[in-house]
Amino acid sequence: MKFRVERDHLADAVAWTAKSLPTRPSVPVLAGVLLRVEDGVLTVSGFDYEVSSQVTVAVQGDSDGAALVSGRLLAEITKALPAKPVEVAAVGSHLELICGSARFTLPTMPVEDYPTLPAMPETAGVVDAQTFALAVHQVAIAAGRDETIPMLTGVRMELEGETLSLLATDRYRAAIREITWRPNEPGASLYALVPARTLHDTAKTLGPLGGDVTVALSRGGVGEGMIGFAGGTRRTTSRLLDPDFPKIRALFPEDHKAWARMNVSALTEVVKRVALVADRTTPVRLSFSDGEVVVEAGGSEDARASEAMEADFTGEPLTVAFNPSYLLDGLSVLDSPKVLISFSQPMKPAVVTPAGDDGESIPGYRYLIMPMRVGS
């Protein structure tokens, strides 16, 4: 195997595949990335039995072939190379890399020991890459990180006709995003629980590439329990989680009694500032009254902070306490100038939705936060 490639193209490809490699691989070959050249196309692959990632790069190929080298090492090397063409060649049991005056020799692992990457499941439809990336980002923040409750570490994807819904919760907040997509079969109804971290990483990579993302989801048969995403020259497959998921749509209250509309960046700044005196488990308290919200944190003996800001508030005055990071997470992904927070009862969850400059709610995204009860 021998080829020449632009340093940036190689570095991007290796960095992306190496990112999904396991830190403690069950077998040594899984710490590797597989480089394969065929007809002027370099394919870089990584796989850890859960997630596979593959990217193709056009290269000037001198001879076809394959080599398996440590992914992390190759990623660090290619990142540090000067911006010049890179010559890569498999020589015996080594891989040689020459870029400008820099020369690296890396040991290789036996290619034949490397597992075959899973095939992409059947294509279910396509979605705009940037829309998808934002939607996933908006929902993945609400997913749980506690591996002892596997189902909450996933994002549920519901593909119903032309609507693609993403849902996640960690028991304390929940997020729902609905976007349109183009299913292969108009009446299709599919769902899957995708590990949130993998989905988030994938969408983040595919979004900036623009164009469409192909969603591939098996319906029995080949690739059962697997989801695939492809965009540009990249594709990823991931094993799915058990499909059970709480019915979180039912948690969103319908009977709102009070509404607050605020500027997103102003509220974000105020909450961040006031939360400096709160720790991980102490809340910020928001007291809404006509035209104003007072944000406070801190106890009677601890450090305290408070700040007032403008708020367009409708309803009986109320005070609600939130974990500041839950609130900030929600505000950070709204992608809108204003926020609408809707309340039903004091100990019921509040619904955070994006709003336009006119204060009108923008449909499509809803973020639910359960308040904290102050006192015992």
Binding site: E147, T148, I149, M372
Partner: protein, 456 residues
Amino acid sequence: MAPELPDDTGCTVVPDDTGCTVVPDDVGCTVLHVDMDAFFASVEVRRRPELAGRPVVVGGTGPRGVVSSASYEARAYGVRSAMPIGQARRLCPQAVFLPPDMAAYAEVSRAVMRIFQDVTPLVEPLSIDEAFLDVAGAQRLLGSPATIARLIKRRIATELGLTCTVGVASTKFVAKLASTRSKPDGLLVVPVAGVLEFLHPLPVEALWGVGDRTAEVLRRLGLRLVGDVAAAPVGMLRQALGEAAARHLHDLAWGRDPRPVLGGRPAEKSIGSETTFDTDVSDVDTVRRTLLGLATRVGARLRRSGQVGRTVAIKVRLADFRTLTRSRTLAAPTDVAREIFAAAWALFTQLTGLSGTHLSATHLSGNHLNGTLREPIRLLGVRVEGLETTDDIPRQLALGEREHGWRDAERAADAVVARFGAAAVRPASLLPGPERGAESVGPGQTDQGSENAVIP
């Protein structure tokens, strides 16, 4: 070797329980210093009775090990704590040398401290095997300080099969000296009026804070006994030792030690409960019910102490004594048994690798499961760490949580148990008998049907 102090010192050595004809003047002697005798060695002898009467040395067995504890039989050969183990071997080659088992000592230590706590809440542990007790408030209930000291000795002897030595005095400093001077299995009361007669004949090293260096300084001043320090002009001491040390030593030499016993429980760091099975268990359902029982107990103790904790830990000891512990920090602190159990059970399934196979996440919320563990379990423990007091702790509510949730249900159960005893209320799956209820049922609902938007 309990020292027989002459009567004219005013001190009284009280023989254990029997034969005590002299009623010691223990009025005002409300500080007890209780020190376990050769603690580690005694615990080892207790669990291996064949070692009784033989010299036993506990310590690091490696080439650089030191003696942690030596039985009195070994001490007769000159073996002392902190002595290199090689030297101990030379002094007493016939001794039984054992590596320390800190877990076992800690367990016994907890039992010892519990006995102290039964006597008075004012317990100030100094180390794993000694503590100060302030018994001023316990006298009406339990009798005079000497009586309480005898009670403690008797309980430790009968319940734990160990001996201890108790010093009884009006200050911490004198109480500690008294126990040091009457080891092992001793009880020494230093009456208020006898403090100076007791102190003054002792070498200066007996004073708290006097090590080799200070002793040398004092010796150069011609001060060998505590009495010499007491009689020395304070100015002389100040010149030699500095203001603070001079005042401190002078006070001690006159029996003045204002330090109170710092009891009021120095905030327990964790609350836990564990159980050793009579026969090793490999049935998953038994494990599950045991964890629920332990979590119930821990939750009740947390609520009783007005505390909540963030971290739930489980301990699993296998039949071959390998011990596995796992812990998990919750998003919000809890004192709810059900939440503790949920975390403990999740940790257990993760630990045994059952999760993902036939015990997937959905089964965690309840219903039924059977299974057999590959390795039988000897002991199970549940512990909650990272404790805070409940007062004013804001609590993160979970989505779908009912306003009156498990916490209120369990608090109601606490009240019933307080009145009618522990058997009155318990989770249904802990009820005895073959026809157990399938699962305990939550307040205000009869089942966790699929229509209920409750996140487990």
